[in-house]
Symmetry: C2
Subunit: 378 residues, 2 copies
């Protein structure tokens, strides 16, 4: 598979939703080959703590790509057919400009001086990257969770620039409960004295404990009650009986502590604040007089919306609201509710029903628009 | 209403599940009057952060009793008929012996030297308090959430000493997800440098930020997604538009921060560690060869089990497991699933269906056993 890592340094700043101008770069990976008439490009949008290493080894964790089971030669997102682009989002911490970047105006790390970015801002920057490739129209935009929000924003704000959209395990706005969980995570980070009002980089400290707690809380929301019970239940960790103490007696405790501790090695605490904030602020209908229908009016985009039955962070009801709005404007939409006990995380896991939905949808769309047919040089 | 606050200082230590002996006291309140043959006593067991002020003003918060709508003259738990006892649990921080108490062996505050207590230990201490009243048999034991665990433990371990039991919004064991949320709370407390390995009392510090984060995370689990959405939705707090910052833009954020901050004024952080641990350790069937049925075999107790449809912390399924086990041993059990959108917190709120279930169950049980009839002097 043809795989490249690169950095796009925009020569122009973008104007953000908050009103500020920002000079920025995006770190991105590509897989496969862009065809001559540039009709086979798929943009993949990663989730909150995801990255551009969708089908390649993450250089920090040395783990294989987070969608390596979905993206590659012969896989549902077939890199023998499609040219896949995945960029670290604006505000992220894996090479794209974010709060851990240097502020060109001061020479210091931004910290909380970094402007609060929105999902729309992330998409604006991605659109510039697509311009940079001279791609008029993306064959598809695909993403789960926060990535799904970006997909929806693309569909609403860049109607003519995408042919199809696959928002997975997401919603058109962050719910009260979701904001609540994010707020707990942010408060855990800010409660850590090593956070230092966001200036920890300059002061050579790290709010590792606070960030670990934030990750632990979030991680619970990524799994279903049932999957936690099946995977861990009340099983004890490396012991035959309870310790009558505060060690990690239970496997679930040990697992969560590990999740928290390993997260801090790969993620910037301020980025976590900014990206959770962007998700909280996301409310697609709000920009269209609170009418989700209006966000999609006159769209030619083909939609495939996927949700998971046991996902309680973005329950199927949230996806159905999107499908209903699309139906009301007579859009081309298919909705797949995947029966899975794995909770929100299902979109990252081996889910054959999701795989076949993505594969079937892309193939039929490609056939309809004569993308990647034999006449094309790939 | 006859209301008294008192302290029971046990002349004998109790032997705890962990093997240690503990000298202790229980701080308790009573409401109503014990009848001459001592057949009208109801023990109420409070929840994790509850207290003995079930129907009287909490002297710390100045708030009215947490079940003042359920317990009182003419109310479902009618203090004109019944003698209500509610004691702060062992390990608590409102007058009963806990980690914030002085260790008689050292003269210092216990901190983490306090032995880890279990739900059974809490019930053992309560049984001594009931002995102190010379009550052979309680008319009923009632409680929600952690209090419901104590009710179940009473029913399993002191079969002959209670006539009826009303476990509400609870389970026979803490689930993996529930342990996970508690572990996040504990890690938030322990991550606070002011926790000082539990010695904050001696060092005149307070892990207030960590405890507030713990409370915020827990509070989300007490409400349903639906009730959060209905009550707060994405409403903004004291502003017309988002601030593009990390203030509490949303009402739900402001609400959670308030919940966190006000909690630290009334609760001891170490007590929070110990009581959550007791709940995590609770697994009634485990003591009976993993057979919940065996826990209740040959019981004469009348049970009324109550759950709430939208409670995702202790979902109705958990209550049904208890009801099924009781049915299998031919126990006298009624199960009421209250239709409520309010989540776990419903057991503390104005829920007419719960009120009438409690009232009806107590009245019919009293009639059957000739408790509180006209012949009795109350």
């Amino acid at each position: 598979m043809n795989h490249q890592s690169d950095i796009f340094i925009d020569s122009q700043p973008i104007k953000l939703d908050c009103g500020k101008q920002l000079r920025y770069q995006l770190s991105y990976d590509t897989y496969g080959t862009l065809n001559p008439n540039k009709t086979n490009a798929i943009l993949i949008c990663h989730a909150l703590t995801g990255d551009q290493y969708v089908a390649s080894t993450n250089p920090v964790t040395q783990k294989s790509g987070w969608w390596a089971n979905l993206v590659g030669p012969g896989l549902p997102i077939d890199t023998d057919k499609y040219f896949v682009i995945c960029a670290n989002v604006l505000g992220g911490c894996l090479g794209s400009t974010g709060p851990a970047s240097q502020n060109p105006d001061t020479g210091k790390i931004y910290g909380l001086d970094f402007p609060v970015v929105t999902v729309f801002d992330m998409v604006r920057a991605q659109a510039r990257l697509i311009d940079h490739f001279n791609i008029d129209r993306l064959f598809s935009v695909i993403g789960g969770s926060m990535g799904g929000m970006l997909v929806l924003e693309w569909a609403a704000s860049y109607k003519s620039r995408i042919l199809s959209a696959i928002p997975i395990a997401t919603g058109s706005r962050h719910s009260s409960q979701n904001i609540a969980f994010h707020e707990v995570g942010r408060q855990a980070i800010m409660a850590d004295p090593n956070w230092q009002s966001g200036n920890y980089h300059s002061l050579n400290t790290s709010p590792a404990k606070g960030l670990a707690v934030a990750r632990m809380a979030a991680h619970i929301t990524y799994m279903s009650d049932q999957s936690l019970q099946q995977k861990f239940g009340r099983n004890l960790q490396d012991r035959d009986s309870i310790s009558f103490g505060f060690d990690a007696d239970f496997q679930i405790e040990s697992y969560l502590r590990h999740q928290g501790m390993s997260f801090v090695d790969r993620f910037d605490a301020n980025s976590y604040l900014y990206l959770t904030r962007a998700m909280d602020y996301f409310d697609l209908a709000a920009k269209f007089d609170d009418s989700l229908m209006s966000a999609f009016i006159d769209t030619d985009i083909r939609f495939c919306i996927i949700s998971f039955t046991s996902d309680w962070l973005f329950p199927p009801e949230e996806s159905k609201l999107i499908a209903q709005a699309l139906n009301r404007v007579a859009a081309n939409v298919s909705y797949v509710e995947v029966n899975s006990p794995k909770g929100h995380d299902a979109f990252l896991l081996d889910e054959p029903e999701m795989f076949s939905a993505v594969s079937g949808f892309l193939t039929s769309t490609a056939q309809k628009y004569n993308i990647c047919d034999k006449g094309e040089n790939l």
